[in-house]
Symmetry: C2
């Protein structure tokens, strides 16, 4: 299958106290995004990646990545204001013969090879898949943020991870429809589901965290040093 990677990486590292693009924050001496891409390179299931970057930083990304990954072809594309804008621009930039696209957070460097493989299989099978894990925290439901509503059973609630993986026409259709209706600010798998298409769950791993805060960053360093993922 012709599977391609799409990484929205147009955000800045402000919350991590870093002046440049968040995807290039150094983690144990290597840009965050390089850790993430290593997982996909090791999986050996994609040959090219479209990376959406902050406008003007194309060259910085190209320099940071090309020598590290001789086996992946990169298309570095100027991203949009919102994540969804970047994803849409990335979908437009994919090669015409792409069958399956994996959309993955730049800041999830510990995705498992098994999750990548299962995601591609599930997208071929059903058309759409998202990685997720059972929620550990108790999640409460409240319509108004004032008082507790009827909370669904814990076992029905899953924490969303990435990659979210789709047959190209499925995610393009969902994005076109979401653009018409006004984006709801949700993840891509939920957009596909809202467009009426089934989405398969693929089991993730607890270490497939998204690095957002300085404490996530500290945890990521621990994971790397102790080889926990």
């Amino acid at each position: 299958v012709n599977a391609q990677l799409l990484i929205p990486a147009a955000g800045m590292g402000t919350r991590l106290g870093w002046g440049g693009p968040k995807a290039l924050v150094p983690l144990e001496g290597k840009p965050l995004l390089a850790h993430t891409l290593t997982r996909f390179e090791d999986a050996g299931l994609i040959e090219s990646a479209v990376i959406l970057v902050p406008p003007g930083s194309e060259k910085t990304f190209r320099d940071a990545l090309i020598e590290t990954f001789p086996n992946i072809t990169f298309k570095i594309v100027s991203g949009g204001n919102e994540r969804q804008d970047s994803v849409r621009l990335g979908l437009d930039a994919l090669a015409k013969d792409t069958e399956v696209v994996l959309i993955h957070d730049a800041a999830r460097p510990f995705v498992s090879i098994e999750a990548i493989r299962s995601s591609i299989d599930a997208a071929q099978d059903v058309g759409a898949a998202t990685v997720a894990i059972p929620t550990i925290d108790t999640i409460l439901h409240s319509e108004d943020g004032e008082s507790l509503g009827d909370t669904p059973p814990r076992e029905t609630m899953w924490a969303c991870q990435t990659p979210q993986t789709f047959r190209l026409e499925v995610i393009r259709h969902a994005h076109a429809q979401a653009k018409e209706n006004g984006y709801a600010g949700t993840d891509d798998a939920t957009l596909v589901r809202q467009a009426g298409h089934p989405v398969k769950l693929v089991m993730g791993t607890p270490t497939n965290i998204k690095i957002t805060t300085p404490s996530d960053f500290a945890f990521a360093e621990t994971i790397l040093r102790e080889e926990l993922a």
Copy 2:
């Protein structure tokens, strides 16, 4: 108001690699539970606490706590198999003139004084309250664990924290009813809500984490050392 603290602490520290009661795992040289109780002592809003402990470890707890907290009276009580059993035993052990009970996880040492105060106010006002924070992760809904269902809007989902705080008769009624129906394994605020009683949300803090895994533990040490909570 006569507000009393109830802490279910009957679990063992196995997941943290500790042979004794989890509540007594040392964190920066002090038992985890001592950190937690310090917050309540600093709040100055309770004068006694019922602590449910692993059967046989009553003396260990008494020795570990009494000298550290000269201003709080402890009632150390043998706990049950499940958390809900311990809570029920604790409710039975409360002084007859208790008006409001705060049920708090032993392993949440970074609760804010503001959350304690607001919880007592809310319980006096409405009868029941739980501390919670907006979810950061995207939560997905799936009935069968196989495919994605209709996910409620993100802003309606809250991550449950403690204390959960109740007028004594409200939580006793809810537990009696839950025992008749068979416990659903949920938190106490949800039991109260299932018994038909309204529950107010009180805003928590991101550092009010529950320490469960070694990585939570490492994060807790960082919080303490850098005085983040």
